[in-house]
Subunit: 409 residues, 2 copies
């Protein structure tokens, strides 16, 4: 067997080729879940995985499992991966890095002619971003969301998840879930400023923030902008502005652990000279401690009630989802830490501010995760960037992590 | 000649038949300028006007002139009318009432076999609402906006004004403007609460508020909602919320004469879990006194500068248009007042909070205007409503107004 080493140029080339699919003018990516671009990205990965000798299977949620067989037929597969869908104005590394790092690990094992005891599987999870549709492939895989609910979801244009999944040809034969895995390890860019600030190359992720998402609808009174005296108005957008401002102060009060974001807003009738009668917007709350997260939710509810009492507008608050804070498996965490040390890369323990497929899988099986730095901590942004050196370092650590787990299996 | 009297049932029937075009579920109308519904409304009016013996001509902006000939060939025509386009969720009376009141006047004169000395013209002005396109037919008619600018304008879907005007078949042969008129009188619902509060049937309009419209763009920094600490954010939507709230307070400080409205907002990327990087919204400022209006504009500019200094987001303020306050012609005002008295309807002088085609025409020729009450002062709302009795009363006053002006001509 020849020397075991990943190929940094091949890894970077694959990342850049994947980034061409849905490439945006500003150097980012737009591969919305189940779009034509998502299909093209999936097709490219599947072709690469087959070239690397993997058996590819698809489940009912469109999750892709690319399996590299192991020596021991009875051994449970060790899984790694992430997602290929992006935000509408997303970057080149969020998700794609974890998938292609997994692919490079398989390619490197092939080059070195190493056969692991347990099989390895590279997994591409469907709709991780949750931007176009509410439910992702990893949440259905662990039973957090039902297949029926995921299938029934519609995007803002009224397009149906199940129909879009069929349209791109990724509704697979495998049932979603109930597929036994030995462990799951995910490599990802940090999407935050911590590693860049400390100068460490590898973040050993110990867990993730809890998260609560709400939709808010404010109903006021539509009226003529020129003839309706200011005191007589029930302006839904003014009430939305009061709440968005108050929610931001709430987030600041819970900083640095807590965050509160209004990312989406729609106004009706949205005409220059009509007082808005209805405004819909979203809230995303996150905190690493459940008690604090629940406290933030109570404060949000109180602010909505107060705005109704103050102005007479109707404020409806609907919870879209709630994820408890997640702690990863201590053995897996140690495996990642040891692998970083063995690969000679500085590391530190870190908490994930973002949700990841790994956070869902941690409900069902042992999970570990590693971060690499990203420029200025920017993500969900077309300017999102990571260096070839850090991408390679993370992949070396992933390789050693999976090998150690494969020995254990 | 038989007795001169308008036909309230015929008037109401025509209003309700016009309201069927673009009718909304909630009982309102959606006839956006140059849409298929606008075309259908125009076609219906043109058919009715021809049945009533009018010669119909169209100008380059799609303004429709339905002429009832008079005895004296050399006499300048006396014009009345309004518009048939509506807000996206508009009502059945805003605009359509003025057009169909004019039509009923012509029909009543036909029934009574009265030939006026001066010809009468019913005018349908294009795109009064300014919701879909910035420039209206009456503003181009008086030279306030150029035909080129109007033609070049695009709607939010990127559709071009001139192409849409061609598409519905209303780009006419007449040049827009330079068409001599003796005077212009417009009947309209008040779109405000004043007449309903005082119990008077007829508002004798003495002038209209000045108006300034701006577009605002806020540029912050797009980033991940879960991983970007609150203090490190440049959230464009939070800054928009701060400004919308401050603008509302500014409007309240200038109440009751002044109003300030943010009617339209768009957020980018508008994704649940991404901090907004860019927000675009509009401001509409109105005040009957120019000095006060200009003061409000200075305060708006100061608030935008302050937000940039406070947060580092970039705030761009672009003026879309500026209309000075308008005062109508004293003789025309007196003619409307006398006509109301002669018709036996209580009246009061009133200031228009809304812009109207009459406000543009007042820059060029003698103009008068009358209001009738509308339920709860609601307009630019699908619930907009006026009673058959008030609609008839306003039309009787319009008839007497036009007859008196025709004698004078």
């Amino acid at each position: 067997m020849s020397e075991l080493r990943i190929n940094p140029e091949r890894l970077w080339d694959s990342l850049m080729r994947m980034a061409e699919i849905g490439a945006t003018e500003k150097g980012g990516c737009c591969r919305l879940a189940l779009s034509d671009e998502d299909k093209a990205g999936r097709d490219l990965f599947v072709a690469w995985a087959r070239e690397a000798g993997c058996d590819v299977s698809i489940d009912a949620m469109g999750n892709i499992f690319a399996r590299r067989p192991g020596r021991k037929k009875s051994a449970l597969p060790i899984a790694t991966g992430s997602h290929l869908d992006t935000q509408p104005t997303g970057g080149r590394f969020d998700g794609a890095y974890g998938v292609l790092a997994g692919l490079e690990v398989v390619r490197a094992l092939n080059d070195a002619e190493i056969e692991t005891k347990a099989p390895l599987e590279i997994v591409v999870w469907t709709n991780e971003e949750g931007t176009r549709f509410p439910f992702g492939g990893s949440s259905v895989f662990v039973g957090q969301a039902s297949l029926q609910a995921a299938y029934a979801a519609q995007d803002v244009d009224g397009l149906n998840f199940a129909e879009e999944l069929d349209r791109i040809g990724y509704r697979g034969q495998l049932p979603c879930g109930g597929r036994p895995l030995d462990a799951y390890f995910e490599a990802h860019i940090e999407q935050g400023p911590v590693l860049e600030a400390t100068g460490e190359t590898i973040g050993v992720v110990t867990g993730a923030r809890g998260q609560a998402r709400f939709d808010i609808t404010i109903t006021g009174m539509e009226a003529h902008a020129g003839t309706t005296p200011m005191p007589a108005r029930k302006d839904a957008l003014v009430s939305a502005a009061e709440l968005i401002r108050a929610f931001n102060h709430l987030g600041l009060a819970h900083a640095p652990s807590g965050v509160c974001t209004v990312g989406r807003i729609a106004c009706s009738p949205n005409a220059r000279n009509t007082i808005p009668g209805r405004v819909d917007f979203t809230i995303d709350l996150r905190h690493p401690e459940r008690r604090e997260l629940d406290e933030m939710i109570l404060e949000i509810r109180a602010l909505c009630r107060a705005e109704t009492e103050r102005t007479g507008v109707i404020v409806e608050l609907r919870r879209v989802d709630y994820e408890e804070p997640v702690e990863f498996d201590p053995t897996c965490i140690a495996t990642v830490r040891d692998a970083a040390e063995a690969a000679g890369h500085g590391s530190q323990e870190i908490f994930s501010g973002a949700g990841h497929d790994a956070c869902y899988l941690a409900r069902l099986l042992p999970v570990g995760m590693l971060f690499i730095p990203c420029k200025d901590g920017l993500s969900h942004n077309e300017l999102e960037s990571a260096t070839p050196e850090d991408c390679a370092a993370g992949t070396e650590v992933l390789l050693r992590t999976l090998l150690k787990q494969a020995k254990r299996a």
